[in-house]
């Protein structure tokens, strides 16, 4: 039993180490280092031996010295295999090993004997693996987007794996793609259009949604339950089905290629979810406040403005941010309704840019960074509000 658990522990930890080292090698390759082999077998043997040695030595040496010792052995072997690598690569390997030995320090022969110990080990390493794997898989495309926008066409063609950025160069050269998209491709104008459309959608949606949500949350009227259930059904309705009829009507009314047209469609598509989120919050406000206000002869509008709105600022701002993000990211309707470059939104402009096969990819990526940054910034900064909004409304798409 003990041998079996020991072997399972060593295997799992070794696979984890292989994963760590491989990711580091990939990242190093993308900095222009010439590494052509993962050396999986040798890392496997080394990792397995380190895990076993760790178990055998256990507490006989202080953990700190043990970590340093193992890491140095590994770095020397690894450095011998792939020669002529800069010092930062080896420091990276050293730190990874140090981290690894510290992760396995809580396991020893004693707790390997315990019941379910292999499953515990499996789950522990699966969590660690998951954290690293998902961080890598998610952040990698964003990282690529950012670094590509700082490269030049030439550099990308010479070595498609070299994504190192030379910060020593002139600022003008470094940010060249950004200068180009703002000067030659009028991205300033597109940012303005996108901002106007998104902010406009937020304002109009709130103007329409707050009264409606209040009525649904508080007032008794015929059709109230019908309205509150149909909101969700309408919300589920596919945008692609609306496209053709809206296109024909907008063409005949001359609303295509206009900000007004986009505002109408965006507001209508975000209204159901905004009403749904707001009425849920309004219901949680104590009724006594309004009853007092009615005794004071405050009108319904007065109640909304003086009591409801001030009390639900968090919910309203969460809806506002969330509607802003939907409008900013929207692509389908802007693709269908806009074909004149003068009225493009950012998303549509980037798609238009990519339609030309000649457009260098770093311009495309610079455009993508420009459209992504505001959203990510808003998201990280207001995360608390947005996450509650996301779970309540689950951003359309």
């Amino acid at each position: 039993m003990r041998t079996k658990n020991t072997i399972i522990f060593s295997l799992i930890s070794t696979f984890f180490l292989i994963f760590l080292i491989s990711i580091w090698k990939i990242l190093a390759t993308l900095q222009g280092l010439n590494i052509q082999n993962f050396n999986l077998q040798i890392i496997f043997i080394l990792g397995f031996l380190i895990s076993l040695a760790h178990l055998t030595i256990s507490d006989k040496i202080r953990n700190f010295y043990k970590s340093i010792l193992f890491s140095l052995i590994f770095v020397i072997c690894d450095g011998y295999l792939i020669q002529q690598l800069p010092i930062w690569y080896n420091i990276g390997v050293f730190l990874i090993l140090y981290f690894f030995v510290n992760q396995i320090k809580k396991y020893n022969f004693d707790n390997l004997k315990e019941e379910h110990s292999t499953q515990v080990i499996f789950f522990d390493f699966l969590t660690l693996f998951g954290i690293l794997f998902f961080s890598f898989v998610i952040l990698f495309p964003f990282y690529m987007m950012l670094v590509t926008s700082f490269k030049t066409q030439m550099a990308l063609l010479v070595n498609p794996l070299d994504f190192s950025i030379n910060f020593g160069q002139d600022m003008k050269d470094l940010f060249k793609s950004y200068f180009v998209i703002f000067k030659s491709y009028k991205f300033g104008k597109y940012i303005l259009t996108s901002t106007i459309v998104s902010l406009g959608t937020v304002i109009i949606t709130l103007l329409f949604a707050i009264p409606a949500a209040y009525a649904i949350a508080r007032l008794n009227f015929f059709g109230r339950t019908f309205l509150s259930t149909s909101i969700l059904i309408i919300y589920m309705f596919p945008a692609i089905v609306l496209v053709i009829p809206l296109y024909t009507v907008f063409s005949q009314l001359g609303l295509r290629n206009s900000i007004e047209g986009l505002l109408i469609v965006y507001t209508a598509t975000t209204l159901p979810v905004a009403i749904y989120m707001l009425q849920g919050y309004f219901k949680s406000i104590p009724k006594e406040l309004e009853e007092a206000a009615i005794l004071d002869k405050l009108s319904w509008f007065g109640i909304i403005f003086k009591i409801i709105i001030p009390l639900s600022i968090p919910a309203i701002s969460s809806v506002a941010l969330y509607v802003f993000m939907i409008a900013w990211n929207e692509f389908l309707f802007s693709l269908m309704f806009l074909d004149n470059p003068n009225s493009f939104t950012l998303s549509r402009a980037i798609q238009y840019l990519s339609g030309d096969a000649e457009t260098p990819r770093q311009y495309l990526m610079a455009g993508s960074v420009v459209v992504t940054l505001p959203v990510l910034f808003i998201f990280v900064y207001f995360e608390k509000y947005l996450v509650s909004g996301l779970t309540a409304g689950s951003v359309k798409g």
């Binding site: 990939i26 390759t29 590494i35 082999n37 019941e115 499953q119 515990v120 969590t127 998951g130 998610i138 952040l139 495309p141 690529m144 987007m145 590509t148 498609p160 994504f163 409606a212 009525a215 007032l219 008794n220 009227f221 109230r224 309205l227 309408i234 589920m236 309705f237 596919p238 692609i240 089905v241 609306l242 496209v243 053709i244 009829p245 809206l246 009507v249 469609v265 209508a268 209204l271 009403i275 319904w300 692509f331 389908l332 269908m336 950012l346 998303s347 798609q351 990819r361 495309l364 990526m365 455009g367 993508s368 960074v369 459209v371 992504t372 959203v375 998201f379 996301l390 951003v395 798409g397």
Partner: protein, 419 residues
């Protein structure tokens, strides 16, 4: 007293909800009905434009006679396919203008030139000329004349409004459109995308539900693909997967994992041999599904995490006392607690993936075996310019969705009864 109060309450409620209801009705419900209407018609993109009578005004001075001026109107019907009936024309001139000769269709009264041109067939063109003279002998300012634009009006049939219906579109959709392939592709895309995003959602939620350093940061990072704009993400992926200079292929070749680059987004099939069985994997479709999973698992993650955090700790403590293994705890406690969320997520994601247009459109444009129903709506309606066909395809989407919802709720209703 109470009666009047509830009366005003009702009135207020209608006033408060009316704007929102009207807007939603106009932009969401009306188009759905309009879609049914259009799907039974033979309409093309060019038919949508309303035919307009147009006139281009050209002002020509008569040499040697500064008090005279020739005005040429180039008249035409803007439509190449439809006639315009009862075209009327109006143009304004300065007060001191007079004219001697005039076309029989026109009259000049109170400095206004009015004409009735009758019917213009499609592609109609005519050059129409009038000569004017000032009655007090003053010179004519031709620039000022140019700045006044003539007004034209006419009646025409709107193809969308007549009552000629046909079943042709639906016949074409069902029999000439590789319909089975279209359905299968859409189904694969929807089903595997949904299942995949839920599996990843469960894994990540389980992961983040544990305590570790940097947990809140991890939670934000996991939501990045979901909140970032599609356009940016799709093009980044395209760059990553590009066969000639993409990072992924360069890496694979560098580490000698493959010899020739794989065109992940442009190759329809790849042959795979597993345990002696050869089978064809739809490569581009798989890649597109991967992107879909990558982009939408955060929603599943968020829902499931919220549910996991609400599971009472006592359940796990009791399991510990009984000596349950981690696997047992997961399958016996966690999973049953999250099945309700998963089934709701399944429905939401299934419906939305079924209608997903942007992702596939941006990645492959529907090429190499990734043509789904929503892509087909676009292709029929805008690439081939057959609006009627596009509408018919979107009607198919609506019908399938309604069927799905019907079965889903029936099934769900049964399960609730059993419990």
């Amino acid at each position: 007293m109470k009666d009047t109060l509830s009366n005003t309450e009702r009135k207020t409620a209608y006033i408060l909800t009316l704007p929102a209801v009207c807007l939603v009705f106009a932009v969401i419900l009306f188009p759905i009905f309009a879609n049914i209407w259009i799907s039974f018609k033979e309409v093309e993109l060019k038919d949508i434009r309303i035919p307009e009578p147009r006139a281009k005004k050209i002002v020509k001075s008569v040499s040697g006679e500064p008090t005279k001026i020739k005005i040429l109107y180039k008249l035409r019907n803007s439509s190449l396919i439809q006639e315009i009936r009862d075209v009327s024309f109006q143009d304004k001139f300065p007060k001191n203008f007079k004219t001697e000769e005039l076309d029989s269709r026109c009259e000049f009264k109170k400095s206004i030139l009015k004409c009735k041109f009758g019917n213009w067939p499609e592609k109609y063109r005519e050059n129409f000329q009038v000569v004017f003279e000032t009655d007090d002998g003053s010179k004519i300012d031709s620039k000022k004349l140019k700045s006044i634009k003539p007004k034209l009006e006419g009646k025409s049939d709107n193809i969308l409004l007549n009552t000629n219906f046909t079943l042709k579109n639906f016949k074409k959709v069902l029999f000439e459109n590789e319909f089975v392939d279209l359905l299968l592709t859409t189904f694969y895309y929807t089903f595997f995308g949904t299942i995949g995003s839920i599996i990843f959602g469960v894994l990540t939620a389980q992961m983040v539900n544990q305590k570790f350093y940097g947990r809140t940061f991890m939670r934000s990072v996991l939501l990045f693909p979901y909140v970032a704009p599609v356009v940016a993400l799709a093009y980044t992926w395209e760059l990553l997967l590009d066969p000639t200079s993409g990072t992924l292929n360069s890496l694979l070749i560098n580490y000698q994992i493959v010899e020739t680059p794989i065109n992940l987004l442009g190759q329809k099939y790849v042959e795979i041999n597993i345990l002696g069985f050869d089978f064809k994997l739809r490569l581009a479709l798989t890649t597109v599904i991967m992107f879909e999973i990558w982009r939408y698992f955060p929603l599943a993650f968020l829902f499931i995490l919220a549910r996991l955090q609400a599971i009472p700790k006592e359940l796990y403590e009791a399991a510990d006392v009984d000596g349950a293994s981690p696997f047992q705890k997961f399958f016996k406690i966690t999973l049953p607690q999250i099945t309700a969320v998963i089934s709701i997520l399944f429905m939401i994601r299934f419906i939305w993936n079924f209608n997903k247009f942007e992702d596939v459109f941006l990645l492959t444009g529907g090429a190499s075996g990734t043509r789904t129903l929503p892509i087909n709506v676009y292709q029929q309606g805008f690439a081939i310019s057959d609006i009627g066909m596009g509408s018919a395809v979107s009607m198919v989407i609506v019908v399938l969705l309604l069927m799905f919802m019907f079965f889903y709720f029936k099934l769900l209703g049964k399960r609730v009864d059993e419990n």
